[in-house]
Amino acid sequence: MDLGFTRDEQALRAEARAWLAAHVPATPLPSLETGEGFAAHRAWEAELAAGRWSVVDWPERYGGRDAGLIGRLLVEEEYYAAGAPGRVGQNGVSLLAPTLFAHGTEEQRARVLPPMATGEVVWAQAWSEPEAGSDLASLRSRAVRADGGWLLSGQKTWSSRAAFADRAFGLFRSDPDTPRPHQGLTYVMFGLRAPGVTVRPIGRLDGRPAFAELFLDEVFVPDEDVIGEPGQGWRIAMATAADERGLTLRSPGRFLASAERLRALWQDRGRPDWAREKVADALIGARAYQLFTFAAASRYLTGVPLGPESSLNKVFWSEYDLALHETALDLLDGEAEMADTDWAERYVFALAGPIYAGTNEIQRDIVAERLLGLPKGRR
């Protein structure tokens, strides 16, 4: 058991730190959830990719460095410590890419991954529907067989990034007559500007269109944009969901950096006693999350797939993130309600954490049933 890093990993970290010091924009980019900010973040992704820093754990042929999971975690620590911009490609990189690595074809990987790595194609997720939220398997959007592909029809909602993104991935019901709702679902990729797609942006609490509704009316998707076997979509998507909740969606580096920013804010405000416990707990929580992730990564690298343990993770980071930002706003005192502070948008973003990627109540049910072995019960 050890917490040491190889010479290569340390060299990668040092190289990342130097590159970021020279390239991170001196002034923060405009909000990711605006047209202008989205474009600026997309340009930043291209700059990152030119330095081969956008997807360091991927194979070189797709734009990565073969740096492995540990390399990725170390680069992310440097990335967030440097105050670099949010990642507009997050949905694709964290959710779709692992799915393609596990279930896609080589043709799909070669076609989809390189433009994802450069930000040329930004992906949105299309899971939820108006009547299918926590009970995702009850989804009703259809995929109907057509010549050489499928026709998608129905409605998706809460589709993060879809207001400005290029393409989306999600689950569609390809067989309406199965004994269980989890069967008969197919995992597909489709263009958000394809004929038959209408995107209606939705403003989140601060009014910015961070997500959208998607209306699909016989949208044609060729067979090469189906991932895995038709009808196997649930199993494929759930493998991705464990990744999302577990290792890839929220980097420990992000929370380590946030906790240090909170400490700096607390010190700047004269170290008020009322916040001492909360600031200490933010520092402790970031360290706990980092070490928990190192343990999960170590296990993953021995060949054990991420399982229901990732539900522990999702509850922890989403509640941690919210508590940290609530403390930050309290420290801002009279400025706390102002929308233009460094903390305001991060706070609004953190508010969504306990809801998306499977609500925390769904995660607690998974912990109770699959980790603790408690009897199944009514939701």
Partner: protein, 326 residues
């Protein structure tokens, strides 16, 4: 980086768990609470044979060299079985003595389990001062062999029998912060074990106890409280093991406060979900419930630990002993 226990470390944990399960600790704990130490001493010898105390003692004094990770692994199991006695204090005292000219006088006996030690800050209460072979006190000028102890005072955890130490005594060496970090680390590991045991017992209970015709563990209000306890404990675990690897004061303090808070939260959940039976002293759950409260302030209160994390330790130097002052 491979932040996972090695197979030997996992085997060590399993073998201690088997030893302690076979020993049936509840009866040992109840004896100990009445000041009857016979069975507790016998168990102590078996733990020494398994190598627990040798993990804090250099090889030249019949130990295995200081091995904080293995100590943490062992103390999780000791907590899981609520083993009574000055376990943390013996390990911390051994580590302090290793740096003095008196190592040869005390350490071989402690390694072999032939003797036991308690340790307290001067003016604080010492755990099991009546049962320990040696009583050490820490003051700003160093480590002393206390000349005796005062009357036993009860703790909220009946198995923790606290005594004042008489002042003065032979000066043995300087106070070393590392040994106090070791006391904190092993207390954190012990608390983690206490919390894990409380969670296990409560999961079993709510699976069997039926009301309204179904197990109470099928109710979402019950399931979610237990899920939260699991989350708290599983995020304390890597802090404890990480602190054992680095022994950095901030890491040790973070592990201490987090493991103790997680164990205490789990204790509150365990008590509540057992209902009235959990509130009785005759039901064995009480042996863990009361320990979770006691460990929370032993070897560093939550406030002191958080201050150490913030890098803003309160003035005055040493953390408090097993209890806050007298």
């Amino acid at each position: 980086m491979r932040f996972l226990l090695d197979p030997e470390q996992r085997d060590f944990a399993r073998s201690l768990d088997a030893l302690l399960t076979a020993a049936g600790t509840p009866a040992v704990i109840r004896d100990w609470s009445r000041g009857e130490h016979g069975r507790g001493r016998a168990l102590w010898s078996r733990l020494a044979e398994a190598g627990v105390f040798a993990l804090a003692i250099p090889e030249e004094y019949e130990g295995l060299g200081l091995r904080p990770v293995e100590l943490a692994v062992a103390f999780v199991e000791l907590g899981r079985h609520a083993v009574p006695g000055p376990l943390v204090e013996t390990v911390a005292a051994a580590s302090l003595l290793a740096g003095t000219g008196h190592a040869k006088r005390f350490l071989p006996g402690l390694a072999a389990g032939e003797s036991t030690a308690t340790l307290a800050r001067e003016g604080s209460l010492a755990l099991d001062g009546d049962a320990a072979t040696h009583r050490f006190s820490l003051s700003p000028d160093g480590l002393r062999l206390a000349p005796g102890h005062g009357p036993v005072r009860g703790s909220l955890d009946p198995a923790r029998r606290l005594t004042p130490l008489l002042p003065g005594g032979e000066l043995l060496g300087p106070a070393a912060p590392h040994a106090l970090a070791l006391a904190r680390l092993t207390t954190a590991a012990q608390a983690l074990g206490v919390g894990l045991a409380l969670l296990d017992r409560t999961v079993t209970y709510v699976g069997r106890r039926t009301q309204f015709g179904v197990p109470v563990g099928s109710f979402q209000a019950v399931r979610h409280r237990l899920a939260d306890a699991k989350i708290a404990l599983e995020f304390a675990r890597p802090l404890v093991l990480g602190a054992a690897l680095t022994m950095a004061p901030a890491d040790v303090a973070a592990a201490k406060v987090t493991a103790c808070e997680a164990a205490y939260t789990t204790a509150r959940t365990a008590l509540h979900l057992h209902g009235a039976i959990g509130y009785t002293d005759e039901y064995d759950l009480s042996l863990w419930l009361t320990k979770a409260r006691a460990l929370r302030t032993a070897w560093g209160t939550p406030g002191e630990c958080r201050d150490d994390v913030l890098g803003a330790a309160r003035p005055g130097g040493l953390p408090s002993g097993p209890t806050q002052g007298t």
